[in-house]
Symmetry: C2
Subunit: 464 residues, 2 copies
């Protein structure tokens, strides 16, 4: 590893404004939203095009310098943290929205385009970019693709993976691959596009993507329902799914809503308080759909799955109801939550959540738990809130010691230890709870094909 | 390669009914629907479970025997043909429909389950398996997955890839991998599931899958439209796509409809004859949708994109209209068609088709061409019909000599030389028109990871 020689060589292909090594920049671009690691980057590079990325990768191979790909750095698993003297390659300057293919409802974006900018572009064309989540104002498409980001509309539109019709990547060897060219049908051998999606930058860089846009949803309408127990949440999902195409099905618990309401981040949906809440959304395309929705709602009331409920009558009310769900992350961040992001089959959700509640109760009777998540996708966010009397270090240490039991329960139900946050460094010790040792061996062998010198995002997902 | 020792070892794990080597069986299971290759299999094996498949693969590695995975053998690219003394491993006896996960709308199937059987199972649960195509009565799920089969509902539901929530595979090394476990959200490293989908059995065997089922479509309604030129076909697609969620958008030309009608395979949709026809379908969920559809139809008439049209008023009429499209393959098979299956972006369709028409006209003014395809996916089936005065060999030779020009045109528009039929052996010489030499090198390197001794479906897609 020879950083000086590498940076000297790089300075021949990048101009001064594209290389930063002041301590503020190293700290800023060296970390993501994860707080457990101390950033320690050697330099930050800002390539302007795929060719420059490829040149950087080839030089990094020559000098055996480790690179960390960097997008909006909103990750929650330390996938974009440079903690070991790596050189960070930021895609910030590659943020152009390129050619729009109207007939194909497709647009080309560079990796550094912000999620929200793509959503706004789509809207300007009377179309819709369907992936949406809390960090859409600063997350970048390249990062979304590399972690296969999910969010609140997955039940209807799928993950980021499902929006990607083509990719330009630079492999860890420095080869540029143009993958799939935007086609819906292309049966010509292995689909590397899907290998790079979710690879967290360990195989190379995503530099461009061809993104599918959708028709704008029509007359989105939300219901918030008060629910007596978690079993009813799953029942409500089943009942509505049978009759209606849902665009979202979220849940949260009383702890979550109490904190959101006391922080003044949203309005009370109805007077009664219930242990759980459901926020569901659909396109009210006509009277038939509305009748169906009301019919299911009434059935759920009769069966006791729902105790109270409210439905949005306007776009304003829709946004008000969504605030109940969307403010949770921000609100609880004041309580230093220890976050887990797990998924299991919907079939197993009920048993799984009882198991987890018991584990936390047994181990930490004095900890407050806050549940919310994308139940329609089997995805639960388990947040353990820090009691005042514990220091942050003590609290995290205690949480980590319970992790093993949580992840053993995930494994028992054949679930995922990371539904949408990726593995990065924080989940790496637990990867075997979801992927078998033999799968991990194949992952390492595949990485060796695309990145034989192991320069790409070293130590993320697994230790090669 | 020692077939005798291999088969002796195999006979210790399979019973007599699971091994066939009579010439009728060798001929039957040694080929698919492709007619260009002479089957020449050494034996046919019928494992009953994943464990037996893995045992066969490990023995094949030991004895360096080449295996050909075999499903419903309805492929059109010779992906399942054993032409070089291979041992065929048929999944025919692994045809159980397994556990149904109601809350997840998911079912486990073995690789040998027939597509139609899965469609019927879904219907019995008031659900829908969305992938459908001409050979659904005999194609098997394992083959569909290995070729990422498409068909007539891709515009609404996607390819086979989009239905697969989990896979059990046996790699070419004989390792059993359980991939993704049915989860919608699972961000834990490389998604090998997508690597095996579309790999045509060159990386290993697919033995089981977890398949997503959909809500039953409601009140499917079809229109058949008479269209003056190909440009109007694309315009009609654009106009309808803006207003309506289409479940199908197919096209065919006058040659196709003439032959279908004279064979008595369908009824005339309306009196006038037009150069092109569109069959589109949507869910008429309510009056609003119907009004939208009629509105767009009238606009298209006014603009001259549509000359005549008819809409189904009942399920019976829906099926009648579909016969116009669905009978084409069977009808033209009497004319020994030379089939191409290409795709380009919808943006390029119009220019592409003009280019191809010119090429065929210049080279073979006396050949009849029949076009049809899944225009909503940019997928065109170009069929060149054999004139009576040519022998089959002369005809195929002439077609192959024009292939290069066809595929150069595909390349010019950055399209695919095989949209949904796979590469197998028939498209192998043309792979570089769609995939770059460097991509093909990476494919070979990946194959070496999963199948280091090169025993899996050797000589398919590429020569390793």
């Amino acid at each position: 590893m020879n950083h000086v020689a590498f940076l000297t060589a790089v300075s021949a292909i990048l101009d001064d404004s594209q290389i930063k090594s002041d301590s503020e920049s190293l700290n800023h671009w060296g970390k993501d939203w994860t707080k457990h690691f101390t950033p320690n980057a050697t330099a930050i590079l800002f390539p302007k095009n795929t060719k420059q990325v490829a040149a950087i990768v080839r030089l990094a191979n020559e000098h055996r310098v480790s690179l960390v790909p960097s997008g909006g750095r909103t990750g929650l698993s330390a996938g974009a943290v440079a903690a070991h003297g790596e050189v960070v390659v930021s895609l910030d300057k590659m943020n152009a929205i390129g050619k729009f293919y109207e007939a194909d409802r497709m647009v080309e974006v560079e990796a550094g385009v912000i999620t929200k900018a793509l959503q706004e572009f789509a809207q300007s064309k009377d179309l819709y970019y369907a992936v949406d989540f809390a960090s859409s104002g600063s997350s970048q498409l390249g990062g979304n693709i590399s972690t296969n980001a999910g969010g609140i509309k997955v039940i209807r539109y799928g993950m980021t993976r499902d929006q990607i019709l083509g990719l330009t990547v630079v492999t860890g060897k420095g080869d540029v691959l143009e993958l799939n060219g935007g086609m819906l049908k292309n049966a010509t051998g292995y689909d590397f596009r899907h290998l790079f999606i979710g690879a967290e930058g360990t195989l190379g860089f995503v530099t461009k993507a061809l993104i599918k846009l959708e028709k704008q949803p029509v007359n989105l309408t939300a219901m918030v329902l008060g629910v007596p127990d978690f079993g009813s949440v799953v029942q409500i999902l089943n009942e509505f799914s049978k009759e209606i195409t849902l665009t979202a099905f979220e849940f949260f618990d009383q702890v979550a809503i109490d904190k959101v309401l006391s922080a003044g981040h949203a309005k009370e949906p109805f007077e009664s308080r219930t242990p759980f809440y459901v926020l569901l959304e659909f396109e009210a395309t006509g009277d038939e759909v509305m009748d169906d929705a009301m019919g299911v709602f009434e059935q759920c009331m009769e069966k006791g799955f729902v105790l109270d409920g409210v439905m949005s009558q306007s776009v304003g009310q829709l946004h008000e109801l969504w605030k109940l769900r969307e403010s949770i992350s921000e609100t609880i961040s004041a309580f230093t939550p220890y976050k887990n992001d797990v998924s299991v089959l919907i079939t197993h959700l009920n048993d799984f959540i009882s198991n987890i509640e018991q584990i936390v109760k047994d181990n930490y009777p004095d900890f407050e738990i806050c549940w919310f998540g994308h139940i329609g996708d089997g995805n639960l966010h388990l947040n353990i809130l820090k009691p005042n009397h514990l220091s942050q270090d003590e609290f995290f240490a205690k949480c980590q010691s319970v992790n093993q039991q949580v992840f053993e329960t995930v494994q028992k139900y054949q679930g995922s230890i990371s539904a949408e946050h990726g593995v990065g460094m924080t989940k790496k010790p637990y990867l075997e709870y979801t992927r078998s040792p033999i799968e991990i061996e194949y992952m390492k062998a595949l990485k060796a094909v695309f990145d034989p010198n192991g320069i790409m995002n070293k130590g993320k997902i697994f230790d090669a």
